[in-house]
């Protein structure tokens, strides 16, 4: 029997600060054992449990795409004990990893369809994985139009700024970046994500919407998607809950009979409608 609680060793290859408030750091991990690397297959939307031994373990969505071979990226918000330890970790250090865990985005459902990706704040990590996956030349023709609406409170709080610039230059993705408050260097859009969605008004025809962000953003964005005629079963979101085991044993992350860790974290709005509002 394989022990699902036993982490595999990873090396911290690179770390970089993402945001001006210094609260978000991306760490890139490489596999220390070749056999672990070969056995690791994931899809965008899945997550891992990262361990800093002595501090503990916490779940993080995978921010890199499966198409970016050899290493895994995680963007970490400094909030508690484990995340603070991960912020202070040095390049070359060893961390533990368990995963990939969870279901991930329904990639095969999206095939042949348009996708509308709506992200807010630092919830953009697994959305970045999804976008990067479909932007890979071998995957690009799997979906039709890719529309991305991404918002942050301030320009400095946007993740993956260099990459956003790259995407802006491409003609095979429509990217709308918005901030709640601009600054003197900001030439882009200013406005809340739900309002920007209304303004951009992408067609719901043949389109799947994937939305990930703070609860308040999701609350106000859903009605706008409804107004655009998106049916519940074509709206997907990824949930977060307090987790420990990540494999549906320890109990705490359930919503009704489903566990966010193993039955999620990705759910359709249709599924969520039928579940208790325990999240």
């Amino acid at each position: 029997m394989k022990n699902p609680y036993f982490p595999i060793p990873m090396r911290v290859k690179r770390t970089s600060v993402e945001t001006t408030d210094q609260m978000l750091r991306t760490i890139e991990l490489s596999f220390l054992n070749e056999e672990d690397k070969r056995a690791f297959h994931f899809i965008p939307g899945q997550f891992c449990e990262l361990s800093v031994l002595g501090k503990g373990e916490a779940p993080f969505g995978i921010a890199s795409s499966p198409t970016e071979n050899g290493s895994l990226k995680f963007t970490i918000n400094k909030a508690g004990v484990v995340t603070t330890a991960l912020h202070h970790i040095e390049e070359g250090a060893e961390v533990g990893l368990r995963g990939p865990l969870g279901n991930g985005y329904p990639i095969t459902l999206f095939e042949g369809k348009n996708i509308l990706v709506i992200g807010g704040g630092f919830a953009f990590t697994t959305l970045r994985s999804l976008i990067a996956f479909f932007l890979q030349p071998q995957n690009r023709n799997k979906v039709k139009d890719i529309t991305v609406i991404y918002g942050a409170r301030m320009p400095g709080l946007l993740l993956y700024k260099e990459e956003l610039k790259e995407w802006e230059k491409r003609d095979d993705i429509k990217l709308v970046v918005t901030v709640d408050w601009g600054d003197k260097d900001w030439n882009g859009k200013v406005g809340l994500v739900p309002n920007v969605l209304e303004e951009v008004a992408p067609s719901s025809e043949n389109t799947y919407a994937v939305i990930c962000g703070p609860p308040i953003m999701i609350k106000f964005t859903f009605p706008k998607l409804m107004a655009l005629q998106f049916p519940n079963e074509r709206i997907y979101t990824s949930l977060e809950k307090r987790m420990k085991c990540g494999i549906g044993k320890c109990g705490r992350c359930n919503i009704g009979h489903l566990y966010v860790c193993k039955d999620g974290p990705v759910f359709s709005y249709d599924q969520l409608e039928k579940l208790p509002k325990d999240y």
Partner: protein
């Protein structure tokens, strides 16, 4: 196959058992505090307590359990898992309710997707010697929960106390391994019929009237019902019902460290504790007793049946016996009838007007 074991041979039997196995049995630590623990001397074993306060789940799922140890060597960590089981084990004297609960734990820990090796290795290495309950307590309702005081399912060997001796039934292949045990002799028809009489008498005592059947469907519509406003009012959230529940399996995982050395440990946790679901951001999806009581009961009677086809309650009655504020799960189950739910709703609506 029906055999017998004279009580005067019990000590010698346990001694030979301990030569081959790690023996786990009920031990009375103090008046009213009986637990299952690893036996060092046969004198510790106490089979007289009606049903030990702490359930036998500890044998497979300890209250606190090391998952692995680690030590830092330069930049690397040396990690050693503690999942292995050194010796074969025997649980002696587990009651039918606790044994029925093992099969529910199996659903969770040995499920299709992920196998919990810590639980699984212990479970696999264990022979279960069940002990019949001749005198179910007034709080016992195993007969309502698909069990019964003489339920043999799950036991490898099954003991029935006849006063001077135990009737010993060998039920499985693991049990048949004891066929040649020198302390076991064949039981005569008189002894067997005596045991039968005790069984018949006991089976009428455990409450079979708690309406558990169909509760998963009944409770489907209860999530937002004012029922929960009423239900949680007296609960103080101490969590004793979850710790003493033979089917509750929630746990927390923490690291314990001294400089470069340490271990990862899992400890029992309870859905009745606010911190259980509290997120780092401060958000708590189950912020009050209302949501937490709902989680405990709905998990047992609605979510668990959805996932595994049966309720996560074996009717052992411990949560009733040891609740400091007399919360009675049987009462809660009875209140899920549509008529009762409406009554509660009307009452709550009235007080809100």
């Amino acid at each position: 196959m029906t055999l017998k074991l004279d009580k005067k041979d019990l000590k010698a039997f346990l001694e030979t058992l301990m030569e081959e196995y790690d023996l786990f049995a009920p031990v009375k630590l103090a008046e009213g505090v009986s637990i299952y623990k690893k036996i060092d001397s046969p004198d510790e074993v106490d089979l007289s307590t009606e049903n030990p306060q702490k359930p036998a789940k500890e044998v497979f799922f300890p209250q606190s359990e090391t998952m692995f140890r680690y030590e830092k060597a330069g930049k690397r960590y040396q990690m050693t898992s503690t999942e292995g089981v050194e010796r074969e084990r025997v649980i002696l004297g587990a009651r039918p309710c606790d044994i029925q609960a093992f099969s529910l734990m199996d659903d969770v820990f040995l499920g299709k997707e992920y196998k919990d090796v810590y639980y699984g290795n212990k479970r696999k290495a264990t022979t279960i010697i069940g002990l019949a309950c001749p005198h179910p307590l007034s709080t016992c309702f195993c007969s309502s929960a698909g069990g019964g005081p003489f339920l043999r399912k799950g036991s490898d060997l099954f003991l029935i106390d006849l006063g001077e001796m135990f009737i010993v039934e060998l039920l499985t292949e693991k049990g048949m391994a004891f066929q040649k045990n020198k302390f076991f002799r064949e039981a005569n028809t008189k002894e067997i019929s005596l045991a039968k009489g005790i069984e018949e008498k006991a089976s009428t005592k455990a409450d079979a009237s708690v309406p558990i059947g169909g509760i998963d469907r009944r409770s489907d519509l209860m999530m937002e019902n004012p029922f929960w406003d009423r239900m949680h009012e007296k609960c103080i959230g101490c969590g004793v019902c979850t710790f003493l529940c033979p089917t509750c399996h929630c746990f927390d995982i923490v690291d314990e460290a001294i400089t470069d050395k340490g271990q990862r440990v899992r400890n029992w946790d309870s859905c009745l504790f606010p911190l259980y679901s509290q997120e780092t951001s401060g958000h708590n999806p189950r912020p009050t007793g209302r949501e937490r009581t709902r989680q405990r009961l709905m998990h047992k009677f609605n979510y668990f049946p959805k996932n595994f086809g049966r309720v996560a309650c074996v009717g052992c009655g411990r949560c009733i016996l040891y609740c400091p504020v007399n919360f009675d799960i049987r009462q809660a189950i009875k209140l899920t009838s549509p008529k009762e739910i409406k009554k509660v709703k009307d009452e709550v609506d009235l007080t809100r007007q």
